[in-house]
């Protein structure tokens, strides 16, 4: 049975799940969530897909999961891929996935939303400035870690990479400039050269171009 991922192109959190599914070789298809039309906040969505009111949602037969980190764990459980090769690596992968959810993707996603997807007169500049400061500390941590490493954990691609990259390929400005962080820049290039890699707007339906 084909796995369905309810997602939309603008969501880096959905991208983390979609990219794990795609690169794992599992049979999956995206189902468009009209986030900007209010879909995730609707009664139907909360009742049928996710009471948390968030995308992505993965449906694989009877299994319905949300939270990109948990969907990534499910891909690992199902295929043996991206989870690290030892118990130590497995913990280190989870450590970076949690760090990403806590310090990188959560804050990057919110800041990008405020700067690009709110009407100009509704953008809370003091919040944007504050979040950009916090994000710089996160970029610095990741950049320093990637100095001398090809991948975040061990010798190959893991969920740590697939999580931390979630918002970093998007073209909309949110204060992240690849050239400022050379080790992140090289790692993003390396990851994008993996067979089967796709940009979020190519991997999932929906993009700002649709609403232009």
């Amino acid at each position: 049975m084909t796995i369905q991922l309810h997602c939309f192109g603008e969501s880096g959190n959905a991208y983390k799940a979609a990219l794990a599914l795609e690169l794992s070789g599992l049979d999956w298809e995206p189902v468009f969530v009209d986030f900007f039309g209010g879909a995730t906040r609707s009664e139907d969505f909360r009742r049928d897909l996710n009471p948390m009111g968030e995308a992505p949602v993965m449906v694989d037969g009877d299994v319905k999961l949300t939270q990109s980190g948990v969907i990534q764990m499910y891909v690992t459980e199902t295929t043996g891929k991206f989870g690290g090769t030892t118990p130590e690596e497995a913990r280190e992968v989870m450590r970076w996935v949690f760090w990403d959810n806590h310090k990188l993707s959560s804050q990057a996603g919110m800041t990008r939303f405020l700067m690009n997807f709110l009407p100009e007169d509704k953008r809370p500049q003091p919040v944007i400035d504050f979040m950009q400061g916090r994000l710089k500390a996160a970029y610095a941590t990741l950049d320093a870690h990637l100095d001398g490493r090809d991948w975040i954990v061990g010798d190959g691609l893991t969920n740590a990479d697939l999580s931390c990259c979630g918002y970093l390929y998007y073209p909309e400005p949110f204060g992240f400039e690849r050239q400022d962080w050379p080790h992140i820049d090289a790692w993003l290039t390396r990851l994008s050269q993996q067979p089967g890699w796709k940009h979020p707007y190519a991997l999932m339906p929906g993009s700002p171009a649709d609403r232009a």
Copy 2:
């Protein structure tokens, strides 16, 4: 060997790990981290304990872990406790632990810090107001989920509870009022009645009283 948890009382993220260790019955001891003296930002801390510059850090012999969610997974791996009783419950536990890291504890911790631990003339009111709005959505999600349930997942205490409660017992104001959320309120009371439960300022060294 006694497990050491580098932590401090004011940290709800550390509390999530400390409470899991305490209620699991594992042999552990807290090691005070002088966060307000700058310890987590020091070169020594980043080199010896955590390059991410964050507490808590757990040390169990050769195993050194950070991120409260990963320490909780380690407690489950070691003791069989708090991880849910079926694969479905295990995924549901992780779903709430990720949700907490993403939407509840991360934002509650930051907002509480800004409102209580910064000098009054440095508190960014627009950021505080914005974060309180986002947190209300998180409280509403958790409160609705706990309607008719004793615990977040299944019939007993899991890491989902031990994660989501991280910042909710603290006395410092950050916009969370227990009486506004009756199902959260009842669940916090239920959790605090578990044998061995302790308040964060009783479980870990360091509290605002030390700096008064």
